[in-house]
């Protein structure tokens, strides 16, 4: 053990159990790296939490919609019973508002008073009278939304204590609103209109129905095209294709297509579907076709993985009892691979549902106030509707945008949950 004895002039060697400065530095470095890792994860998850949190908080006001209940009298002469659509319902409403606020008489005050009520009131009244013409000549109560500022006032978004020039409502408007509250005319039921109304310029009337229908049509087309085509392509490449230049080319192609930016698919849709084939602008069918081209690589890649996971013994057994190659695939391999294929398809469709950029380029961000009645009519989709609302200046649209995002995220969560459930439930290990 001569080497453990210290030579003169050299520092004394320490035993292995003694700590020295270098070792603790090395351990400190280890701890630091660990801390960086934890910090990185905390940052990423913190951002996720902030994102979800802010969206939830901003969406909260849109859960309810402030409504006002007015007593309306539809005079005999004001509406023609044979043509109840033609009546001047705004006038009738104005009269019943004036009965509550008899002191309002200057034009400026009248205008400010009307600003408190939604423009949709006259249509609510019209629809009620049209559906039941016997109401003409009678007094009855009607409930319709307050306007955006009334809604904000009710939800406390507008701070009453601010000086007049910093808030968007006048003192008179606050007074009128308070009188409506005193008379028990204000209620705030759940905001079903946000789901079942079509789009509108007025936040209190705007809803997602048109966008939901448009997204449904687009996803339907996307599924009808990309599911059969994707499975066929994958089956050919995985089960039949000879190894040659052409199939190599197709493979490289599919992998690259999966990474092409989505906006390029929008350019393709614009140049080919709209410009070359002359398909209708803003229509869900074009959106669906563009989305299906984007989803195709995802489905092909997922299907090929699922086909690869089916063991060769299955194929050999089928061939052994006299099945043709096509029968082997159709009767045995594909059914066994189906859970994996469906999982991949649902994930691909979920991506397609959230895709915005290509739909903007083919005009699915148009302002359309009715749900499309076929897939050839102009329409918006859920993400493009979010884009339109996010761009709108009215305060009420901020909460509605967040609420629409929650609807979109809800759909995505459901689709992914189904995919995960299917993977867990039907996955087979051979």
């Amino acid at each position: 053990m001569s080497d453990t004895t210290a030579r003169p002039g050299e520092p004394k060697r320490r035993a292995w159990y003694e700590k020295d400065a270098k070792l603790s530095r090395r351990h400190a470095a280890d701890k630091r790296l660990r801390a960086y890792g934890i910090a990185a994860i905390v940052f990423a998850l913190g951002m996720l939490a902030t994102l979800v949190g802010t969206i939830l908080i901003t969406a909260a006001p849109a859960v309810t919609q402030t409504m006002v209940t007015l007593d309306v009298v539809v005079p005999e002469g004001a509406v023609d019973p044979s043509d109840p659509r033609g009546g001047s319902y705004q006038k009738i409403l104005n009269e019943s508002i004036a009965r509550i606020f008899p002191e309002v008489d200057t034009p400026r005050e009248k205008r400010e008073l009307r600003q408190l009520f939604s423009n949709g009131g006259q249509y609510a009244l019209r629809d009620k009278v049209v559906s039941d013409p016997s109401l003409i000549g009678q007094a009855f109560a009607i409930t319709f939304p307050l306007s955006d500022i009334g809604d904000q006032l009710h939800k406390g978004v507008i701070d009453r204590d601010l000086p007049r020039d910093q808030r968007r409502v006048s003192d008179e408007q606050i007074g009128w609103y308070d009188r409506l509250v005193e008379q028990g005319r204000i209620s705030a039921p759940l905001n079903w209109g946000m789901i079942f109304n079509a789009d509108s310029r007025f936040p209190e009337l705007a809803g997602l129905w048109g966008a939901l229908v448009g997204s449904f049509y687009a996803l339907l087309i996307c599924f009808l095209v990309s599911f059969p085509v994707g499975i066929s392509a994958a089956v050919y490449l995985e089960e039949f294709a000879p190894k040659n230049r052409l199939t190599d080319l197709i493979e490289v192609n599919i992998n690259n297509l999966a990474a092409v930016p989505s906006i390029v698919f929008g350019l393709l849709g614009l140049a080919v579907f709209l410009n070359f084939f002359g398909m209708p602008r803003s229509a869900p069918i074009v959106g669906g076709l563009v989305l299906s081209l984007m989803t195709l690589p995802t489905i092909i890649i997922a299907t090929r993985a699922a086909l690869k996971a089916v063991p060769p013994s299955i194929r050999e057994a089928a061939i052994g009892v006299g099945a043709s190659k096509m029968q082997t695939v159709g009767h045995h391999v594909l059914p066994l691979a189906m859970p994996g294929i469906l999982t991949g398809t649902i994930i691909g469709l979920a991506q397609a549902l959230g895709e915005t950029a290509p739909l903007l380029l083919i005009g699915m961000n148009a302002f359309i106030t009715a749900a499309p009645d076929s897939m050839f009519n102009p329409s918006t989709a859920l993400p493009t509707q979010i884009y339109i609302w996010a761009d709108s200046p009215e305060r009420g649209f901020t909460s509605r945008t967040s609420a629409a995002i929650i609807v979109l995220l809800g759909f995505l969560v459901c689709m992914n949950a189904i995919a995960i459930y299917m993977r867990k439930r039907f996955e087979r290990r051979w």
Partner: protein
């Protein structure tokens, strides 16, 4: 008659064909004949012959109908309306005629337009009638043809397999067609654009203001298409995004693979993946609603002048979106390093951190680099975050607190709304799209090459 009804009829005819073929073959079998294929395949054979040609005919017809009808309509217009007219003028006339035909009359159309609208309507009616007639003829013809070929020793199974095989091939070629479609549409429109604006000016020009003059005598904004500031903005925002995403993604991957226990990993990893599943429009709204105001307030409190659409906000949020890409690629790469290399390092007395830094990271580097390249390609192609959170004006600046614009933002703003298809403004979008397509393609191929080479080393 609606399309879905037509498809339903084709389907019904094919079913009838199937039943016919099967019944016929079963009859032969009970009569004691020896069949080559089981009866069902006789049925499939007829069904395919009945359904496929008719279905393909409908698709081709629909693709061609509007163009053909337009040409017929144009040929029938009085010569003073079409002679010497520009394509834009002609498409305007066609649009008016179609509007009138659909009952959306604006103003008072001329007699010629009214006549043309009536003719358009009758052409359309004829076309859809002809479509129905031809489809039905094709379906019935196919059915009769296939039926006539059936006999006891007809090799129905082989024939059906052959047809299906061709169908599969056609489907996989569709993937190539998509790529060809992308390349053709981008290249053709870009060539038209470069005929008006020289390539060199587009690629190296320093001034980007694509607003073309509305009136001929307008002084300002003649339209300048020097895209360098746009390219710079894209690179700048992507760089900010990578500046956020690479450290966070890499460190979290290192922690998850080497330090975290199984339980933490099984919770944290899926949570990180959620970040990749959130649609980009949500990130865009998050940037506008929360991040940009926060950065602005924070900068103001330090006495800095921050633009409301600062590159920092857009790039930072994009970085958050990209974290899961980097972390999952790094995760895979580090996991793929053989355990023996870790064991070797530990045996030499290295700490975990030293093993990671000096053994695992160098070994996993190609995989990580491949992931980073893919993430960069993702960042420069990302659209919605920058459309909502980045600026519209092209400025050459290296200050992250100012607003810059990107290629994707310009494509969207140039093409959004109704634009005629032959103005340089619209075409410029395709030029930008071509540049975007090529650069992402190069990045993707480079990434795949890097990853491939690294795989070869350890497998």
């Amino acid at each position: 008659m609606s399309l879905s009804l037509l498809f339903a009829i084709i389907l019904a005819l094919a079913m009838v064909g199937y039943l016919l073929g099967r019944a016929n073959a079963s009859g032969l079998k009970t009569a004691g004949k020896n069949l080559h294929s089981i009866p069902a395949y006789h049925g499939y054979y007829i069904a395919l012959w009945c359904g496929l040609p008719a279905f393909l005919l409908v698709l081709v017809w629909l693709a061609a109908q509007s163009t053909v009808v337009d040409q017929l309509l144009l040929a029938g217009l009085p010569s003073h309306m079409t002679e010497g007219a520009t394509p834009a003028r002609i498409s305007l006339v066609l649009g008016e005629i179609k509007n009138v035909a659909a009952g959306r009359v604006f103003g008072t159309p001329t007699q010629a337009v009214l006549d043309a609208a009536a003719r358009y309507q009758s052409l359309k009616d004829t076309a859809s009638l002809a479509l129905i007639a031809c489809t039905l003829a094709a379906a019935v013809g196919g059915l009769a043809f296939a039926r006539s070929r059936l006999s006891p020793d007809f090799r129905a199974r082989n024939k059906v397999d052959g047809i299906l095989r061709w169908l599969l091939i056609v489907c996989s070629i569709l993937a190539i067609l998509t790529t060809i479609g992308i390349i053709l549409s981008l290249v053709i429109e870009s060539l038209v654009f470069f005929a008006r604006v020289p390539v060199t000016e587009f690629l190296f020009g320093m001034n980007w203001s694509p607003q073309t003059p509305i009136r001929a005598d307008q002084v300002a904004s003649t339209g300048a298409f020097g895209a360098v500031p746009v390219f710079w903005g894209t690179i700048f925002i992507s760089a900010i995004a990578m500046f956020v995403a690479i450290p966070v993604g890499l460190f979290s991957a290192i922690y998850l693979v080497e330090y975290a226990d199984k339980k933490v990993r099984s919770v944290v990893k899926p949570l990180l993946e959620i970040l990749a599943g959130i649609p980009t429009i949500v990130y865009g709204f998050f940037a506008v609603l929360t991040v940009a105001p926060f950065i602005r307030e924070f900068g103001m409190s330090l006495g800095l002048d921050v633009a409301s659409n600062s590159a920092l906000a857009a790039g930072g949020v994009m970085g958050i979106m990209i974290i899961p890409f980097i972390s999952s690629f790094s995760d895979d790469a580090i996991t793929a390093v053989p355990q023996s290399m870790r064991d070797g390092a530990y045996a030499l007395g290295a700490t975990k951190a030293e093993t990671i830094r000096q053994v695992l990271l160098p070994a996993a580097l190609p995989g990580i680099v491949g992931g980073v390249l893919l993430a960069v390609s993702r960042a420069i192609g990302e659209t919605m975050i920058v459309v909502m959170a980045a600026g519209l004006t092209a400025t050459l600046t290296a200050n992250p607190l100012e607003g810059v614009t990107t290629v994707t933002v310009q494509i969207v703003t140039l093409l959004i709304g109704d634009t005629e298809f032959d103005s340089p403004k619209t075409l410029a979008a395709f030029g930008l799209g071509l540049v975007l397509f090529i650069s992402t393609l190069v990045l993707n191929i480079a990434a795949l090459q890097v990853v491939k080479r690294y795989r070869e080393r350890y497998e």
